[in-house]
Amino acid sequence: MLSPAEYEILILSLQVAVTALVAMALPGIAMGWLLARCSFPGKALVDAVVHLPLVLPPVVTGWLLLVACGRNGPIGAALHDWFGIRLVFDWKGAVLAAAVMAFPLLVRSVRLAIELADRDLERAAATCGAAPFRVFCTVTLPLAMPGILAGLVLSFARCLGEFGATITIAGSIPGESRTLPVAIWQYTQVPDGDASVWRLVLLSMVVSVAALVVSEWMSRRLGARLGAA
């Protein structure tokens, strides 16, 4: 059904999106909790930095990442010297771009979900002898889970669709950084690319709808248990 090239594009896109999602899940939940429940000096600044990719043009974010993570950039040089990791023009760069772009969406969802979790229940758990981290894992997290899941799905979709930052830092190398949106853009640039564009457009619609269906199913199950549905 899919040509080997299309298959490669699909697998690469899923690989990038899933890796980005796994990489940002824990930091995203931690950041959401931090912004929802803690007050500390410089909180407004942290909040702003986290949300910056949401308001900046993606290509700007991509360029900043390129500067920071390029061979001569402060982060890029350290990664290369210590771990031999190269980000620029590499699928790991695409992962970085996707994760940075989707991070604010995840943090926003998690933050909202944790703010809505009933603090009285957390207090009740504490009086039962549960230390704060246990309260977080056994009360806050399960209560916030529908919102966190929604955030994860939203972020996954954002990762799949990431274009501007990705092409800036990772380029459009087949099998390396040519994800679905990058490939679609590429085909729009060649004459007679319409048929290929259509096939890839349909493919990305199928993937996105599948993600939505899965998330709907999961939140329904959770909602039924929590009594919210």
């Binding site: 009086t127 704060p132 009360v139 399960p142």
Partner: protein, 356 residues
């Protein structure tokens, strides 16, 4: 149990300033709404921190602002029953019950799961989730969860306030049973005096963020200055006596002080000591015994005090024990009520309710 509190808590414009030592096994904290009762309980539970002072339970310092000591709630080993239960909605009833039990070190475990389940009769509910429970069931599970924490002190914050009257009556015996079975110290917060009297031996009267009086109800009620406040908070009389006999669906009781009262049929055998509750507004006064009237109880006594309350007058009558009667200002003038006046107190048999 010995709970020493000498602390100040400020929350917005409200200040709670309490200085008290509680050493009865079951103490009821009572006062009008907004008096600071729940804040006091939150202070003991560690859910609010005092701005000044100390909280010490059995020699263990929970809070001492001067030495910067604050033991967080999860290290206090207390059990708390909240007004709305606060069961964890994502866990089954059994997991809720075991939530605290699991965290008690083996050496400190004094309460067994099976015993609690049997005592508060929740065996049928274990696999359910909280949202499918009725209000009364939810509070029983919350009580069970608190008990299974094997607490050094059981705190109850208006545990029955969210329930209607009928349900309250169903749950009260459980509280009483818990108190007698586990010999666990209890601090019970409520604005409902009859509820407290079911469970507690002593009361701590709180109003406007201060502790005003402490001791058995009889002693607190003896203070004319506190009577209006007690009355507003649902003051009831506790009459002590001995069961005489059961007849005609009724029980006759020899009250302390020599008179006899008739009340609804009771379970206790003749000779048992009982305590009965009588609401001040269920009692009428007459200057002499009245003929041809359906009221079963007419007991002679002497007026001790006449105290003006908000829109009512409270008359304390000595019938061998003190009985508080609520009348209108008009009645006082018409009957010429004053200290030393001989009167009869009149009430229906049904007005006498049992204490448990």
């Amino acid at each position: 149990m010995r709970l020493e509190i000498d602390a100040t808590v400020r929350r917005g414009t409200f200040t709670l300033q309490v200085q008290t030592t509680i050493d009865t096994p079951a103490c009821g904290v009572f006062g009008p709404s907004g008096a600071g009762k729940s804040t006091l309980l939150a202070l003991v539970a560690g859910l609010v921190r005092p701005q000044a002072g100390r909280v010490v339970l059995d020699g263990v310092v929970f809070d001492d602002v001067a030495s910067a000591i604050h033991v967080p709630p999860h290290r206090r080993r207390l059990g708390v029953v909240f007004q709305h239960g606060h069961l964890l909605p994502h866990l089954s009833v059994e997991s809720n019950l075991r939530y605290g039990e699991r965290l008690v070190p083996d050496a400190g475990r004094r309460v067994s799961f099976d015993e609690v389940v049997r005592l508060i009769e929740i065996g049928d509910l274990l696999t359910r989730v909280p949202r499918t429970l009725s209000g009364g069931q939810r509070q029983r599970v919350a009580l069970g969860r608190a008990l299974l924490c094997s607490p050094r002190l059981l705190l109850m914050d208006e545990p029955l306030a969210a329930l209607d009257r009928g349900l309250k009556r169903q749950i009260l015996p459980y509280l009483r049973r818990v108190r007698d079975t586990f010999a666990m110290p209890i601090l019970h917060v409520s604005h409902d005096l009859p509820e407290l009297l079911h469970v507690c031996d002593e009361l701590l009267l709180v109003a406007d963020g201060r502790s005003l009086a402490q001791g058995p109800l009889g002693r607190i009620a003896g203070d004319p200055g506190l009577l209006p406040l007690l009355h507003d908070a649902g003051m009831v009389n506790v009459l002590r006596g001995t069961v005489l006999a059961h007849a005609d669906g009724m029980t006759s009781i020899a009250l302390e002080g020599g008179s006899t009262a008739f009340g609804p049929r009771r379970e206790e055998a003749a000779g048992s000591r009982v305590e009965l509750l009588l609401r001040p507004d269920d009692v009428a006064l007459a200057l002499r015994p009245v003929d041809g009237i359906s009221l079963q109880n007419q007991i002679p006594g002497t007026v001790l005090r006449v105290t003006a309350a908000s829109d009512r007058v409270l008359v304390t009558v000595d019938i061998g024990q003190e009985v508080l009667v609520e009348v209108s200002g008009r009645t006082v003038a018409q009957l010429g009520l004053q200290a030393g006046r001989e009167v009869c107190i009149l009430f229906k048999a049904m007005a006498l309710s049992g204490r448990a």
